[in-house]
Symmetry: C2
Subunit: 312 residues, 2 copies
């Protein structure tokens, strides 16, 4: 199986740089004191559409042939990837077809609609999503951009880590959240190429990646139930292969640990991060001895939360 290299990601960074936000790396003297570590937060909540997903979507769109680009792109997603692909398509002057479950929250529908995507609603099952998408693709010739099982998407996601290590050299450890594994794959390739330990953060209630790495075979995510709504999906063969080759450890955290870490970031750092992003700090807070005195990079994946439905 062909997997991306660090060199690929460096090249992709040059390509997408004019189109993405160079997000800041933030620190907090309070959290450094609390943990005894030196924490560097790569704040992708300040990325366009409020999440790292814009990097991968942008690269995927820019990787299309002129003919394919002219037709359209398509995906099924109710989350950040849908909004990211919609905006990336809009900026590239093409159409985005997004299949969303009919029970997606209004805030997510609006985010996608704001970027002029053509939304098709379907029953909230994976089967309905895939069938609906297939019909659209047959009709329109749109290219399916999978949220993570896509080599161009993975390369794009890796550029956040690249910017982080360019700005903060000599990190000992990098922690990224894992859902479908696109962000973790890209991040781990850059980390390994720079001899930095790479740890993944996963909700205990959606611990399929943890189990996959432990048993050395792809365990799907079955009925995950976590507030970290960006981390519900299963690894693909592609992301599992990359993660197996690169990731040193996956650490799981409880729902309460995620909520506490999220609250701490909101209160002390004054930034809005989504629950999926809070998993990385939760890992440090629950395992202080492992990180004390270390320079730790944390990938804050996004900041899209429904303010009408907060856990505190």
């Amino acid at each position: 199986m062909k997997t991306p290299t660090a060199t690929d990601i460096y090249k992709v960074h040059k390509r997408i740089k004019p189109f993405i936000n160079k997000t800041p790396v933030l620190t907090s003297s309070y959290l450094n004191q609390l943990t005894g570590a030196k924490l560097y937060f790569k704040a992708e909540n300040f990325q366009k559409v409020g999440a790292f997903k814009y990097r991968g979507a942008t690269n995927a769109v820019l990787s299309l042939s002129k003919t394919d680009l002219k037709k359209a792109v398509a995906t099924h997603s109710s989350g950040n990837h849908a909004a990211a692909l919609a905006l990336a398509a809009k900026k590239a002057g093409t159409k985005a077809y997004i299949v969303m479950p009919n029970n997606a929250p209004p805030i997510k529908k609006n985010a996608v609609a704001d970027y002029d995507a053509i939304i098709t609603f379907c029953e909230p099952t994976l089967e309905a999503r895939e069938t609906t998408l297939q019909k659209i693709i047959e009709k329109t010739g749109a290219t399916f951009i999978h949220p993570y099982d896509n080599i161009d998407v993975i390369k794009g996601q890796g550029t956040a880590c690249l910017e982080l290590i360019n700005e903060i050299p000599n990190l000992d450890i990098i922690i990224a959240p894992v859902g479908g594994g696109g962000l973790l794959s890209g991040t781990s390739i850059i980390a390994k190429a720079n001899s930095i330990k790479i740890i993944a953060a996963e909700p205990k209630n959606a611990n399929d990646a943890y189990l996959s790495l432990k048993t050395n075979k792809l365990v799907p995510s079955i009925n995950p139930n976590t507030i970290a709504d960006g981390l519900l999906t299963s690894l693909s063969n592609l992301t599992f292969t990359i993660i197996k080759n690169n990731v040193d450890e996956i650490i799981t955290v409880t729902e309460q640990q995620i909520i506490d870490a999220m609250r701490l970031v909101w209160e002390r750092m004054k930034i809005i991060i989504e629950p999926s992003s809070a998993t990385v700090l939760a890992v440090v807070l629950a395992n202080k001895e492992q990180f004390v005195t270390k320079k730790v990079g944390l990938i804050i994946s996004g900041g899209n939360v429904d303010l009408n439905n907060l856990p505190f």
Copy 2:
């Protein structure tokens, strides 16, 4: 009455620079599109203690004679000034006595206690606060640092605007919130010295500064009732004099306009700002024609909110 000059504020900035955060100036393409203006947010929510108040408190503490510094500083406040003075005193190696009303929310008590201040609780009336403070000062020889009726505090608060115009030249307008007028005084001195129009934002439900400017005499704030809890206080003779001389206009905003603006910043900019800070954006949103095509600097005063008690 002696009032500070822009030169004073430049000097103070050099003095306090090593002790404060140089906060970022943020932009939002979404909000620029929504308003038709070019908005530059000076993000004092990222200042130490989460508010611009740390600038003034730091300068006041650094302005003390060695003898006075050794004794202690004191103030009565339940808000950001209390936390700011507590931390500034701690960093300068002296004690801070803080008088707080016994009904202050636990989150505010904890913030002050975290910085090792000596807290005295009293009945929640201005009289009780002043009497209690007076007793402490008599006993300890502490210097009273008023939250805004203090020339060193005002000079410190002006440094946020100074950093803003150094980073973003050629602003047409600057908007700052007004409560007791410390921030607005310092900001207006810098704005006027640089020929920039200066507008103040005030809650309609606490419109004492608006009425004072209109009637040309100091109108006290009587039973103000606004979510913008940093803007409840009345102007002093000192701040009223400075504001009269410099401020072009005070624009009031409703509670709903404040809440809507706050929510917009949280959702779109992914930063936590407190209601007092949201008044400045609320002014732009409610008066778009006045700001369209203009380069507008907005002083975001702080980010201390009680997450258990949000207006949405």
